[in-house]
C-alpha cells in the first residue's frame, strides 16, 4: 500500500530530478519553445516542497491536490496548469483514503492524464507531455520500472514528431528533430515513482 509519505517522496524525488535536469530542460525548450521550462518547473516544485512541509497533508489525495494547486499558482508558464491539473485531478480521484494501492494510483493518474488532454486539447503524437504520460500510465500495471521505461521511450519518440500544440507548433516542420521538453519532464515525474518506492523499502 502507498501512504502519504510515499506520495511526499514521489514529489520530493521529482523536485530533485527537475533540479538536476533543469539546464537540459531549458536547453530543449530553447530549441522549440521559449527557454523557460527548466526554471519554471524548478520554481514550481520548490514552492510545492515548501507548501508540503508547511501544511503537512496526511493523505495521498491531499498531497497531490496541494501539489497541483501550488504548481498552477507558481509556475507562470503552460506547464503549471498542465502539471497542476494532472496532480490535482489524480488527487481528487484518490479522495481521503489514508493508503492506496498501485492499481488505484494508476487509475488516478489516468484520470489526471485525461484532465491534461481536456485542458490542452492535445492528442497522442502532437509532441507534448502526453506522449510520455499515456504510455507510462498504460504500463503502470506492470510496475513503476515499466512505467519509467515507457515514459522515457515516449519522450525520446517525440523527436521525429511535428509539434501541433503550444509554442512549438508555430515552428511547423522546424519542430521536427527536437525532443519535446514537456515529454522529457513528464518522464522525470514518472521515473520518480520508482525512486519513491525504493525509498520506502529502506525504512
Amino acid at each position: 500500500m502507498l501512504d502519504a509519505d510515499f506520495f511526499r517522496r514521489w514529489i520530493t524525488a521529482t523536485a530533485a530530478s527537475v533540479d538536476r535536469e533543469a539546464q537540459r530542460l531549458t536547453a530543449l525548450d530553447s530549441a522549440i519553445g521559449d527557454a523557460d521550462h527548466g526554471s519554471n518547473l524548478q520554481r514550481g516544485f520548490a514552492a510545492v516542497l515548501a507548501t508540503l512541509e508547511k501544511e503537512a497533508p496526511d493523505t495521498p489525495g491531499a498531497v497531490l491536490s496541494l501539489a497541483g494547486r501550488q504548481l498552477i499558482s507558481t509556475v507562470g508558464g503552460a506547464s503549471g496548469p498542465l502539471y497542476g491539473t494532472l496532480l490535482r485531478r489524480a488527487g481528487k480521484v484518490l479522495g481521503d483514503a489514508p493508503e492506496v494501492t498501485e492499481a488505484q494510483l494508476a487509475e488516478a493518474l489516468r484520470a489526471g492524464v485525461d484532465g491534461v488532454k481536456a485542458l490542452g486539447g492535445a492528442a497522442p503524437g502532437d509532441k507534448t507531455m502526453l506522449d510520455a504520460l499515456i504510455p507510462a500510465v498504460d504500463a503502470l500495471g506492470e510496475g513503476f520500472d515499466a512505467a519509467r521505461r515507457a515514459a522515457e521511450s515516449g519522450a525520446v519518440e517525440t523527436t521525429p514528431m511535428q509539434a501541433r500544440k503550444g509554442r512549438a507548433s508555430y515552428l511547423g516542420e522546424r519542430s521536427i528533430g527536437h525532443q519535446d521538453p514537456g515529454a522529457t519532464s513528464s518522464a522525470l515525474l514518472i521515473a520518480a515513482l520508482a525512486t519513491a518506492a525504493e525509498g520506502g523499502s529502506d525504512e
Binding site: 498552477i72 503552460a78 484532465g115
Partner: protein, 136 residues
C-alpha cells in the same frame, strides 16, 4: 442608475503592458467608460512575461459586482491557467467565464457592451463575435 451592477472584465496577457494598454484602449473606445470594472492581469507577479494565477484571481475578485465576470486572454499559459482556475471551482467568482475571443477586438466589444448594462451572456457574445469582423 449609479447602483447598476455591471459585468466585470478581466484581461489576461503574458505582458503586463499589453494587458494594461488594451484595458485603457477598450475603456477609451467605450467613451471613457468609468462605470465598467475592467482589470488587467498581465505578466507574472515578479513583473516578467508569463501568467500569474494570483493576479488573475485578484483581478476577477476586484471587478466582480455580482453580474458575472468575462475573462479574455491572449494565448498559451494564459488560456490554460484560466481554464485550470475555473476547474478548481472556488478560485474565481461564481459566474466567471473564459471568453473565446480575439484579445484586442474582443476586449473593446466586451467593454462597449458591458457599459450599456448588458448581462454576461450579451457581453460574452459580443466579444466572441469580434472573430467575425474581417478586415479585408
Amino acid at each position: 442608475m449609479s447602483d447598476e451592477r455591471h459585468v466585470g472584465i478581466v484581461l489576461v496577457s503574458h505582458s503586463a503592458e499589453v494587458a494594461e494598454s488594451v484595458a485603457g484602449l477598450a475603456k477609451a473606445l467605450a467613451g471613457g467608460a468609468t462605470e465598467v470594472p475592467v482589470a488587467a492581469a498581465g505578466g507574472t507577479e515578479g513583473g516578467g512575461f508569463g501568467t500569474s494565477a494570483e493576479l488573475i484571481s485578484a483581478a476577477a475578485a476586484a471587478v466582480d459586482q455580482g453580474a458575472g465576470v468575462a475573462v479574455l486572454t491572449d494565448l498559451g499559459s494564459a488560456v490554460l491557467t484560466v481554464k485550470a482556475l475555473l476547474a478548481e471551482g472556488d478560485e474565481l467568482p461564481a459566474d466567471t467565464r473564459l471568453v473565446d475571443a480575439p484579445f484586442v477586438e474582443g476586449a473593446v466589444a466586451a467593454v462597449v457592451t458591458a457599459v450599456t448594462g448588458a448581462d454576461l451572456d450579451a457581453v460574452v457574445a459580443a466579444a466572441s463575435e469580434a472573430y467575425a469582423y474581417r478586415k479585408v
